[in-house]
Amino acid sequence: MDTMTSNHRVMSIARAIVLMATTLAALWLGLNFLSQETILEGLPPNASKLVQALIAIVLGVAGIWALFYAGNTMLEAFPAKARDTLRPYLFVLPAVAVVGLYLIYPTVGTVVTSFTDIPEGESFFYNYADAFTDQEVLLNLRNNMIWLLIAPAASVVIGLAFAGLVDRIRLESLAKSFVFMPLAISFVGAAVIWQFVYAWKPPGQPQIGTLNAFWVGAGEILVGMGILTEIEPIPWLQVIPVNTLALIAIMVWLQVGFAMVVLSAAIKGVPSDLTEAARIDGANERQIFFRITIPSIRGALLVVYTTIAIAVLKVFDLIFVTTGGNLDTSVIAVRMYQEMFRFRNFGAATTMAVILLVAVIPIMFVNIRNLRRQGIGA
């Protein structure tokens, strides 16, 4: 019996090693083949690219599968106890490697660049000193603060109000789907749509912008009634500080749907015996909402608030497409793009990125801790 088991074990170890070696060799050869420029000579350029891509896909998928399989076979050779301890690490290893390569490595690189891409003879903190003394950057930071103060709060309040109001009415899902729909639109798309909402034409010309059409239309009625003497269209995206508020409104429009859906689900999760007990005790609906519902969904509120806050800190597309950051509307992310791709200042750009990263981290921390507590993403 003993010899049979040990023989068996030796056999399986050998098999596992051979399997792993074969897999690695096959992968090595495959990658080598793909990296040659002259492969598939004779085919038309496009066809050869297509074939190359197909080979790469097959090699990638099959290669990962083979690696897992070979790794697992090796694990099988271990004693049962070690096998169970090691298996999770084996399976998480590729994911960790990929995250490390595509997330950790660039992040570290960015931080390093922000300290080292400096004029000769300057201190390591040159970029940061420069950033925090530059009027423009300070203005951008101030704008980020305005966004952060208004946009998440407004989204949560409106989303909560909507979720509370439509709760348990007929056609609830229809009403909610209308509010939810903007969430499916990209930031750039939303910015372009809202440019038409905010469009301005000189007084006297037909206002093609939705908002100015309403504004001037209503104003003309008032002028007709003698209440106003004249009405002028407002260039919403040109007037400081209306333009920043107008841009924040787009963000709120986009995020309200998300807030509403999560909060609506949370409201439905409030145990009905709680609210019923309150009702029996004589509480009215308003008291139930503020005293029972809201405290019960505090966790969800925090998650929604922080998630939107992170999106708001990173806001870029909305501003870039509409005002281009002009007329005091720029934020750190827009500044980062300009430094990176327009001015080619890697140091300044990475500094902006690090500032953003540092600003996001505490919010991210609260967010993740809360998700854990909620049991949503443990």
């Binding site: 009027q135 639109i185 749509i193 007329l327 080619r344």
Partner: protein, 491 residues
């Protein structure tokens, strides 16, 4: 640059249609609304040159004066391929003209030219160069970019070029601009003149207005138009998506060329004098006399900041007659006049003579007048050069060919092209380029777009945003605006 927004618009169009019941009217003209895509549509078929005159480079064994080009014409590099990148987007008029222009080269040399254009071109090129995938040749619009690539060591120095021949054949200003640190890096291929003002011909005739030839006449005419109750004399606006503000920088530059010596203009570019030098502030005064004087600009400063550059001149084509009378803009604007936009979108092949507003008949241009006699009649220009990233004989041959009149002939015939070569026969040009070409010849100075030459932080950064702030303040606080631009100068 501006294509990005329209591309995005197309992408979301489905959503917009679903959301608001099919109001797609605004978007039907997207193809034609990008300022870069509609420079000219012409009666001449751009492909005529393929079969027609192939000029002095015909394979007769005659030397072109360029070594590699001679070898190429002798068929030595047959079967090789050259990758060329430029910002002339697929399905634009420029792309059609450029590919048609390249055809004779491939025909005569057997060298395949693989031409590619990408949206957001400058970023795409930068990414390709950074990633080690640079094309063999690339078009660059901004000399500042060429300097960056040269500093980074990405460019091939064109020491092999027959520079004596080039110097003799190219307008000196462009020859000099192709150099950096006394080394030739760029070959100028296509140029553009911006110093022109468009006006409605019939309206001028009806009111007895004369084309002004001096600044004083220009101001007098503006006052006359207001006094006659004919609306506002000027159509001005600067909204241009990612590039908001460039129209204003063009005005500043054009005026500075007319109020200061060329050295001041060049020192302003290289920052040997501060950005807010008194001469520059003086030019700003002249500019604000037009831009911010009461009733001068249609719709006031709000219109200037809020109106897209393709629609600036819409009031000039109002049904009740011109509401604004003069617009300073380069020749591409013709495709955007009044009904022309929609018409061209539907009939992209129609010749200019069939457009609702015919360039040269309904609307014509005059030279943006001189201001101070001692500085003569300068022109403000822009231009595209080709730079070289990979040094192979066939790449050299193509670059050399691009410096010959033959490389320009097809595009000149198609319109929308001014060659910086003085060897191009004048009779090749048609309206409006015959007039523009003449302006270049008569110019006492050719000033290259200063904002293109300044560091990007200023040229495509604070200069633009500063002008926008200045307009938003309706010309108030000139000193502060120019001081803030000066403060933003890097280094």
């Amino acid at each position: 640059m501006s294509n990005r927004k329209w591309l995005a618009l197309l992408l979301v169009l489905g959503l917009v249609l679903a959301a608001c019941g099919g109001d797609g009217g605004e978007s039907t003209t997207t193809e034609a609304e990008s300022p870069d895509t509609t420079e000219a549509t012409s009666e001449e078929d751009p492909t005529t040159t393929e079969s027609g005159d192939t000029g002095t480079t015909a394979a007769s064994g005659e030397s072109t004066g360029y070594t590699e080009l001679d070898q190429a014409l002798a068929g030595e590099f047959e079967g090789t391929t050259v990758d060329v990148w430029a910002q002339w987007l697929p399905e634009s008029v420029e792309e059609a003209n450029f590919t048609a222009t390249l055809a004779p080269f491939t025909e005569q040399t057997g060298i395949e030219v693989n031409f590619q254009a990408t949206p957001d071109y400058e970023t795409a090129l930068q990414v390709a160069v950074d990633g080690g995938n640079a094309p063999d040749l690339a078009q660059i619009a901004q000399p500042g970019k060429m300097h960056q690539y040269a500093d980074a060591g990405s460019l091939v120095a064109l020491d092999f070029f027959n520079s004596e021949k080039l110097e003799a054949e190219m307008v000196p200003a462009f020859y000099d601009l192709g150099h950096y640190n006394d080394t030739l890096y760029g070959i100028y291929y296509k140029s553009d003149v911006k110093s022109i003002v468009w006006y409605p011909v019939q309206g001028f005739a009806d009111n007895g207005y004369e084309v002004p030839t001096t600044w004083d006449e220009l101001v007098a005419l503006s006052d006359q138009i207001i006094a006659d109750g004919n609306g506002n004399p000027w159509c001005i606006s600067i909204e241009s998506q990612e590039a908001d503000g460039w129209v204003a920088t063009d005005w500043m530059e054009d005026i500075l060329l007319r109020t200061a010596p060329e050295e001041i203009y060049n020192q302003w570019i290289t920052h040997e004098i501060p950005f807010n030098h008194p001469e520059v502030l003086e030019a700003a005064e002249y500019m604000s006399d037009i831009w911010f004087a009461e009733d001068y600009a249609y719709g006031g400063n709000t219109y200037i900041n809020a109106t897209w550059i393709g629609e600036t001149q819409d009031p000039m084509f109002a049904e009740e007659g011109p509401q604004c009378w003069m617009q300073k803009q380069a020749a591409w604007i013709g495709g955007f006049w009044g009904a022309n936009r929609d018409f061209i979108a539907e009939n992209p092949e129609a010749p200019q003579s069939e457009w609702p507003n015919v360039p040269g008949e309904d609307v014509d241009f005059f030279y943006f007048p001189m201001i101070e006699e001692e500085f003569g009649t300068p022109v403000l220009g822009a231009a595209d050069m080709f730079v070289m990233f990979e040094d192979r004989p066939e790449v050299r041959a193509l670059l050399e060919w691009l410096a010959t009149p033959e490389a320009a002939e097809g595009w000149i015939a198609a319109g929308g092209f001014l060659s910086p070569l003085n060897t191009v026969p004048a009779e090749w040009y048609t309206y409006p380029n015959d007039g523009l070409s003449e302006m270049v010849l008569n110019a006492t100075t050719v000033g290259f777009d200063a904002s293109d030459l300044m560091p990007a932080e200023v040229g495509v950064g604070s200069f633009w945003s500063g002008m926008i702030d200045w307009v938003a303040a309706n010309g108030e606080g000139t000193d502060e605006v120019f001081q803030s631009i000066e403060d933003s100068w890097p280094g």
